[in-house]
Every structure is written in C-alpha cells, then in structure tokens.
Symmetry: C2
Subunit: 354 residues, 2 copies
C-alpha cells in the first residue's frame, strides 16, 4: 500500500500462475506444457534469429506471422491478431470487446484469469454455473449479456463443448461478442475457427504454449471478423507497438510449417492421455472426459489438497485449486511423456494404496 498507487492498484487481485519451480528433476505436471519440445525446424529457425539484426525493432504488425496463421486457417491476414501469449491477447480482448453496459458471462468454474481481467478493466460480469456433470450448458447463456467467454475445452475441467452447440449459441446471440478460448483445442476438441467467416461476432483465441510446444516463446493469437481484429489492433497500438519479438515471430512461423511434427506430438499426447485415464480409473479415480492435454480427476477417499501435497513429496507436481468448493477435491494433471506419466502413477499407487 502506498500513497503513490492509483486507486485501481489497491483494488486488484492478481492472477497466480502455476509454479515454475527452479529445482531440477521434478516431474512437472502442473502448467499444461507439452512434454515434447518444439520441432527441430523451429529450433533451427530460432538459432538463425540470434544475429546482428536484433539491433533492429521487429515488424510492429507481425505481418509475416499473421499471413502464415491466416493461410493455415484459410482466412485473411486482417482476420488475425497476434500477441505476447494468449494471455496478452485475452487482456486486449477484455478491454476492447467485452466491456459493455450489460454483464459479461462466463462459467463459474473456468480459467481463473477471467475475473482478474474484469478487475483490471472494471468489467461487470456474472458467472454461469456448470451443470451437475461439470459441463458448460449453452442454454444457460441464452440471456441478455455484454459478451460471453469460455474455454473450449473448458479449463480446468477439460470437458469440450460440441461445435454444433457453439453454433447454436452464435445463432441466438448476435448482439455481443462470443469468445471461444481454444488454448487446448488441438488435443481432441472441435475448433470454432470454421465459424469465423459466417458469424461476425465470434472470436477464437489460440496459443503456441500447449500443442505447439513453445510456452517459453510467448505467442498467442485471435481470429475473427476484421472489425473485431481492428479493435484489438487499436488497443495494442495504444499499449505497446512491438509485443512480438524477432524470435517469437520466426519461431511461430516455423512451427506452423512443420505440420507433420505437430500432428505426431499431439497424437502422442492424446494417446498418453487415454492410457492415463484408464490407469487412474484403475486406482479408483473419477476422471472428467477430457479434450485437452490435461485431466481433471478426484478420488472418493482422498482430499485433493492432501493428494497434491503427497505427490509433491515424491517430486511430482500437479495443480490443485482451493476454490470453488465444488472442485477442491480435484487435481488438474498435465499429460506428460511416458516416463513422467509412469512416475505419476507410481507415486499415486504408493499414496492411494497406503
């Protein structure tokens, strides 16, 4: 607290990211990173950027990257916005497109950054409870609103919403922007990018931090109607002219160009998830159906916080959320590689059977 702080600073409740431990040799299954590193072609493109040209600013419009993303999705470059991770993209989205007189709607159990953005920008919101199966029920969003946002698949549940349900929402909700946060979509959920040319009020956000194995590079993007993108550009150009550095642009373009590597690694993660679900069910866990690179699971006999602490004692870190009450016994577990998943299961076997 300080007399020098603006009123806003006193009122903020910042987001708390998952731990990035400085210890080595932890089995790190807490922040949904990809167990596989980026493609060798991406590494090569990044090495080439370590050069004299770093003395020059990057392209403030990231034109080459926007063109590459547009081509990948069959869109035009003016339908693409890029940012320093999808969190920065989302921040601009909240300020530019989701602040209106009526309240923003999002699920009561979802990405915990959404209420933080609302606090930062003074956005009125109402949360919509997930149904008894922890699903997003589209009917519950069919009411007056200043905007709608949810992840698909939802986080931290991992449960997808069918594309037909999203289209039903867009047909009914034409007066406000609907943001589909597809951070995890590549692990088995249907993307709404196919709806962008039909509905002027849908915005779809993606990240390079999960399926593209580049959390350390900070690239995210949004696709939508050109008018929505223009709003984001206006905010971005009032905040920071050059958020995408030379490495980020080059690495992100190279990642899109190695489709074979992308398909191979995401299929490996999906296969490992399906195996892990079976293994956890064998130990008595209830696992919610996941279309993501993580699962959300609870055990009928063990409290979530205690399980997370016991795993940590065995050098396995997963994410536990202390609220809301409905999910306090769940663990969110990132899908690792084979040895990481085995280490998780060995640790759980020693805990759950103890």
């Amino acid at each position: 607290m300080s007399q020098y702080w603006s009123k806003l600073v006193h009122s903020l409740t910042p987001y708390v990211p998952g731990e990035q431990p400085k210890l080595q040799n932890l089995v790190k299954l807490n922040t949904n990173e990809n167990p596989y590193g980026p493609s060798p072609k991406v590494i090569a493109a990044l090495q080439a950027e370590a050069a004299d040209s770093l003395r020059l600013y990057p392209d403030p419009d990231s034109s080459r990257l926007k063109a590459a993303i547009a081509e990948y999705h069959g869109l035009q470059a003016n339908q693409v916005f890029v940012g320093n991770g999808s969190d920065e993209v989302l921040a601009h989205v909240f300020q530019a497109l989701l602040k209106h007189d009526q309240p923003l709607l999002y699920p009561d159990i979802t990405y915990s950054f959404y209420p933080v953005y609302c606090g930062l920008y003074g956005i009125d919101f109402e949360t919509v409870p997930l149904n008894a199966r922890f699903e997003i029920a589209i009917d519950d969003y069919l009411r007056p609103n200043g905007g709608i946002i949810f992840p698909n698949p939802n986080a931290p549940t991992g449960i997808p919403v069918a594309l037909s349900e999203i289209e039903r929402l867009l047909k009914a909700n034409t007066q406000s922007v609907v943001v589909i946060d597809e951070a995890y979509v590549d692990f088995g959920t249907e993307s709404a990018v196919s709806l962008v040319n039909q509905y002027p009020n849908v915005l779809v956000t993606h990240t390079y931090s999960k399926s593209r194995s580049l959390a350390g590079l900070r690239v995210g993007y949004a696709v939508g109607d050109a008018a929505l993108i223009e709003a984001l550009i206006r905010v971005k150009d009032s905040f920071n002219s050059y958020p995408i550095d030379r490495f980020a642009e080059a690495g992100a373009i190279a990642a899109l160009q190695d489709e074979a590597y992308f398909q191979q690694t995401r299929q490996q993660v999906i296969a490992a998830r399906d195996q892990l679900v079976l293994d956890l069910q064998g130990l008595g866990f209830e696992v919610l159906p996941s279309g993501a690179n993580f699962i959300f699971a609870r055990h009928p006999k063990y409290a979530g916080e205690q399980l997370a602490a016991s795993l940590r004692e065995q050098a396995v870190i997963v994410r536990h959320f202390k609220k809301p009450a409905r999910i306090t016994d769940f663990l969110r577990i990132t899908i690792g590689n084979t040895s990481q998943n085995q280490a998780l299961m060995q640790a759980l076997q020693s805990i759950v059977q103890a």
Copy 2:
C-alpha cells in the same frame, strides 16, 4: 467502427511507430536503433536458448534478470520491474502510478506515446511547454499535479536535464510520482538511478532497445522504491503472467555481463554524433544539443517535411513529426555507423546545396 467495440476503442488514437521498412539497403536512421549489433556473448547466450526447454514457460517473475539488473545498478531485486520493452513498462506505469485526481504533467514536445497512454487509461493530463531553447524547465513543473513524466534526454529534442535539476524537482515534489524515462541516457546524459534510494517517489525507466543493441528482443525495465515496483507487479500480474520470454531474459542478462562491449559501442555512437553535429552545422543546420543517440536539427532554408521526402528519395530515412507546429521543420536523425552517416551527409549535400 462496430457495435461490438467497447466505448474505449471508439475513442482511442493509437501511437504510430516509426516505419520498419521491408525494403533492404535503406539507410535506416528513423527509429533510433543502435548501428552496432549485440555483443557476440549475447548472440551465444541466445543461441543456447533455442532448445527443448522452450516447451516450458519462462519464469513469470524474471528473477534472474531482476537480480542482474539490481546488481548492475547497486540496488535490490525488489526495486526492479521488467517488461516487454520499455513501452510495456511505461503502459503499466501510467495505469499503476500516474492516474490520480490531479492532472499528470509532461512536456508539450516529448515522446508521443504519453498522450496515447493517457487516452487508454483515462488519465487527465496537462502539457508543460518547453522553453524557447526547447529545454525542459523544472520550475514549470513546481505546481500541484497527479504525477510528472519526461524523458531524459528528452525526445525528440535530445536535450538533457541536469541531475541537480531533477533532484531539485524531487525535493520539491514529494506528493506524486516523478518518472524519468531514460531510454537514451547511456549516450551522454546523467542517470537518476543514483537517486532511487533517497527518494521514494522517483521511478527511472530504461530500455534494451538503444544502447544495448537489442530492439528486436523487447526488454525494458524500471527501477524505484519497492512500493512503486509492487504496484507495477500487481498490474502486470493482472495482465500477463509471462511477458518476458526465455530469449529475452537470457539475452538481457548476457548484455549486462559484457560491459566492455557496451562501453565501446556507446562511445563509438557518441563520437559519431559529435562528428555528425559538426558536419550538419557545416551545411547550415541548427542542431539542438544532444545527450542521445539521435540529433534534432533544422535548416533555415528548407522545410522539414520536404527534407525528409528528399532524403527518402535517396534511400535515407529519418523521422519527421508533423506536429506540434514548433518542430515541423526539424528532422530527428538517428546516429548511424560511419558509412550510414556518410550516406546521410552525401544525400544532404546534394539536397541542401542544390
């Protein structure tokens, strides 16, 4: 314009950065980049980051970088804030520390991003005219205010304010934050970092884009009292958890560690500036006294806009500002390397003597 835009978006007047031309072989003296690339040790550190570890998020707190900056300046790590270029740092500064009931003060001729931030965050401001010699006159800031910000040296004039004058301001102005934007300080201006431990309301911002030859990497920072830094962290953690990617942190640390390279390149730029000033004066230009890596100059017989256009025809690009009226005949010219400065002088000789 769109019904989906927030009210704010309709009202914004975004910043327009200097052109980043896609043509090669231009003599690019328009955005104050360093003519010398980063140190070979920085290049090596960056190459080492192109690795499997990019699948993991960076440290959200950039702890190693903060520690390195703190050590460099003889401060504590909790007196350091880092961001995606000093523009991002400044954006957070405006929102966290410069929005108060009384108006913010800054010069009428200064970095043109300041009014853009005020528009983005709804900050009331008053501009303080430079004196007849285009200098910041501290006496004009000794009045009630909600904050004070100016670059030192000022941009685009390049004229420095003496450290004793800044200390006089801090002694008189204790009720609001004074931000000294030292983007260009390493080219011959006294830094106010030495005042940080004595005055709890001074915040000093630096960038890696100029004297550190890393405009393409996007790193900037602020140093000040821990309470000021805490405000910035609260806003940053409500906006984007991980603005500093793995390359940015590693490259910025390596740059601080090669002091010899830093001293050599900045002295080369200073020496080239001093020569360029003499050469321009020889052509009849009036050149404002510069403590920066650029000079601000006008010719009594030629309009600024026309000179900039004529230079562009000869593949030399400099920056011309269309307003305010007092500076429309000035050109802001970045100090280049020897051959760039020669190309500039040859072009000017053909124009001015024609």
